[in-house]
Symmetry: C2
Subunit: 251 residues, 2 copies
């Protein structure tokens, strides 16, 4: 079994090495990850400049540091760097949760999305880092999920998005299979003046979670691991039939 690991925190981040150490006894592991942090890159790909790749060894695994985004890494891995198609792509463990609408901004989730677009099973793993960063707990859970998904594959167009609260294993309340929630931010922009008196702006923002029950946002806030099946189809199928009259729009 060949497992491809990627992330958006960069190839030296602790999360990807917690995964590497957890999976090395179980499978062949190859890391293809950004050479530095690429958080909040969304599903960006690098079209306007070429990519560079440097090869390293980590533990018993090969690693490739790529001057691009997580989606770049997966494209490059599948087509150029891996000796064969991987059986599973795992993106993470992200430093911080990837919940609700925030996954649209998530490089971690986009690495896993790129995998399923190319027909490779995938999961994204994120740790809601608050305290010490229990990456080992999340990595152990990831091995169990990988084993489950090998026996019970998801549909081809779907990945598993996993968010783990930052708790010791015995303090985790359980597992919730949950839909994505809505995350809104307020006060998103902070204006400052540079030494020449000219304005510049930082994106920031306070999270304003509505904590609708049965969402991933709610589950993690309550100390549960949240599992959400995520697909790449953004069509609002629910309203598609009601819009068919638009085919006759006069313009």
């Amino acid at each position: 079994m060949l497992i491809l690991l990627t992330n958006d925190d960069g190839i030296l981040a602790p999360g990807i090495h917690a995964l590497r150490q957890a999976f090395e006894p179980l499978a062949e592991v190859i890391l293809v990850a950004p050479d530095r942090e690429r958080s909040a890159t969304g599903h960006g790909i690098t079209m306007h400049k070429p990519l560079r790749v440097e090869q390293y060894t980590f533990g018993r695994s090969q690693g490739y540091a790529v001057s691009g985004t997580p989606a770049d890494c997966v494209k490059l891995a599948l087509e150029q760097l891996l000796p064969k198609q991987p059986d599973l792509v795992i993106s993470g463990i992200n430093r911080g949760a990837n919940l609700g609408t925030d996954i649209l901004y998530s490089g971690t989730v986009s690495g896993a999305l790129e995998a399923i677009i190319n027909g490779i099973p995938a999961m994204a793993v994120s740790l809601d880092v608050r305290h010490k960063g229990n990456y080992e707990v999340a990595a152990e859970f990831a091995t169990k999920m990988a084993s489950f998904l090998t026996q019970h594959p998801l549909p081809k167009n779907t990945l598993m998005n996993i968010n783990v609260p930052d708790l010791d294993k015995h303090d985790i309340k359980g597992i919730k299979v949950a839909k994505l929630g809505l995350r809104r931010y307020i006060d998103c922009v902070e204006e400052r003046k540079d030494p020449r008196g000219k304005s510049y702006y930082w994106l920031s923002g306070k999270l304003l979670d509505e904590l609708e029950p049965e969402t991933d946002v709610w589950a993690v806030s309550q100390g549960y691991i949240a599992l959400t099946p995520v697909h790449y189809d953004l069509t609002n199928h629910h309203i598609l039939p009601s819009l068919q009259g638009l085919a006759n729009l006069n313009w």
Copy 2:
């Protein structure tokens, strides 16, 4: 009525100015767009450096050039730059189609997604540029869609993704309301050697459309305008019930 225009081709691109000229007789128009091309940025946001903004006048409209992505532009516009909340956000007209799974990479669509996440109605407009670039045709259609959506609003979580074939108006076959198709690419990576003999890689790729009928990809290929309601919920609701047993996973 206040309309916010954004795009990912940059504030000097022809598509956004075709929209500006089409909407200036109908509404107050403000442009907030990247200061240069930001294609394929996905839903990236700029967290690790501050944003700069320069103000210009285009025709009778104010424009702000932002050193960031389309999602940055919409965040900044809503919270900092606009005198009041806009009634509609239009992202485009993109130089090139934004169809099927490709919308995950699309800065244009992500500008519109950022709007609906913040509760503002939005549409994304893209032209499948092949020949001369009939931006005026797409802009005229956008005004009709804006008027339609004002009278028949979409659900709060949904934007309209519009793709127009690059044809004269009388050569367009009609309008199809269509789901997103799947776009796959082959030969995505091109390896080259630099003058020092070291490899570098360009992302490229030949499109391998399956042209499943009733998809947006198919509709535009046949000369139709494709309209797709797009929401921000990537949950695969269809399989959610079948996964509930995972709540009892032993680990």
